[in-house]
């Protein structure tokens, strides 16, 4: 889908003539290719987040290692999309909305790649945690991960629909992830106070929850990109 174009209406006095823009086939086609590649990347990132969470809950080191390996694919995808965007900007000379769209997509792939890294970092913590029994049943972290994955999905939907209202709503939902992070922090610190044997596991859990919280922040960054795309203004949705 193209970035929304609003028809320019002529004045009532002169007769309202609806201006329908002509397609620019090559540019439109390349924009679609790039957008679809970004969405496929988003799918990979969602899976990585959920897999890292599953690996954590089950203390499954093998699954965690798969997530770590899979991050290379996400990184390569980001490089590929960036190259595509460069090529399109160089050869199609987009301006105005077309240019903002491509610049937005470039930034989105950067944020998605970093989210992939964060999921891999969670998986790395799982690899270290896996040999021992869990400190406590994991409740907040899987919820943070699931919310993070849903945010990624939601914000990419807002991007496809070029929907700034939706984007702002998504940004608000990140607050819940932040709340869960703080709750985790307090809970785990208390467990570490109670018994020094808990410190190593506790620290790794806090690190993992920090990365899950960062995933939420990055989804909010993408939401800001969508707002920029629509309005041309940079708005801070995560003060």
């Amino acid at each position: 889908m193209d970035p929304q174009r609003e028809p320019v209406l002529g004045s009532a006095a002169g007769g309202a003539a609806e201006h329908v823009p002509a397609p620019r086939d090559s540019l439109d086609r390349e924009e679609h290719l790039i957008r679809d590649a970004v969405l496929r990347m988003g799918s990979l990132v969602e899976s990585a987040i959920r897999d890292a969470s599953r690996a954590l809950v089950a203390h499954d080191a093998a699954l965690a290692l798969d997530v770590i390996k899979g991050d290379a694919i996400i990184n390569e995808a980001q490089r590929g999309v960036s190259r595509l965007i460069s090529a399109t900007i160089a050869t199609q000379q987009p301006v105005a909305r077309d240019l903002r769209y491509l610049l937005t997509l470039d930034h989105v792939t950067y944020e998605l790649e970093r989210m992939g890294d964060h999921a891999a970092s969670v998986a790395k913590a799982v690899v270290k945690l896996a040999p021992e029994p869990p400190l406590k049943r994991y409740v907040h972290l899987p919820e943070m991960a699931e919310r993070g994955a849903l945010l990624v999905h939601g914000v990419l939907r807002a991007l496809v629909d070029v929907d700034a209202v939706k984007a702002r709503e998504i940004a608000v939902e990140d607050d819940e992830i932040d709340r869960l992070y703080h709750a985790t922090f307090d809970e785990v610190v208390e467990l570490m106070r109670q018994d020094p044997a808990n410190v190593e596991r506790g620290t790794r859990i806090i690190i993992a929850s920090h990365y899950l919280e960062r995933i939420g922040d990055r989804a909010t960054n993408i939401a800001e990109d969508v707002v920029y795309l629509v309005t041309g203004d940079v708005e801070d949705l995560n003060p």
Binding site: A22, R29, M41, G42, S43, R83, E146
Partner: protein, 304 residues
Amino acid sequence: MVEETPLNAAQAGSTLDTPVDDRSVAVPIVPSIRIATEPGSGRDGADTRGETVIELRDVSCYYGSFRAVKDVTVTAAKREVTALIGPSGCGKTTLLRTFNRMNDLVPSFRATGDILLDGQDLYGKDVDPVAVRRRVGMVFQKPNPFPKSIYDNIAFGPRINGFRGKMDDLVEHCLRKAALWDEVKDKLKQSGMALSGGQQQRLCIARTIAIEPEVILMDEPCSALDPHSTLQIEGLMAELKREYTIVIVTHNMQQAARASDVTVMMTMDTADRAGYVVEQGDTIQIFTNPTNQLTEDYVSGRFG
């Protein structure tokens, strides 16, 4: 496309349960773009390209004793758009006109080296230049429809060539291919010269197609047209290249970037004032990361 995973946590379990193997990516995440020339793969995914149609080896062009173009080795591949770009006077039009022997019309002109069309020497002793121009058509900078009806503009060439089929069908076919049919179908008897600039140029393209060439040469086909008509012609080129090989000379670099698959960068040697080829490469590569500094400077608008 993003899969329609339901947006509530309870049903999201279906994604959590998907085994790892099922998510191995069968479809490449990022579509490939041609950075290096690969036979048979197009910039926009078109296939069956890459075969060489026009080949020049060590070609020099002389007007009398003056060497206008020196030591050119280039190729144009089947069903690709090859653009010749470069500053004024670098010999790109001279070179283009060797592809259909238009330079024969200049008495002092002489070309050395190998100029091959489908592997055959275009300037061989037994080669009929008129036959060459049937296989290699040309569209010029200033649209030049015949002072005839739209219909006769298209019918003229085939009639001369002894066309025996249904002329009405041929005329419609060519006008449709040139994206002009809808605009002129009710006024085929009107003069071709009464059309707008963009329409006249499309009429010239339709006229060229009517003789069923293999190659269509275009010498700055849009420089007399407004931006909208220009983009329209470029859209037409993208369609035409499915069937025809196109070589275009343009001083509009952005057009070369938008519309071509391969770009040949030429310039003039200030010492002997002969044009030469600086670089030939994939258009995407020429405009994102050219090999030669001169090319980089030219496409960035830093010289020429």
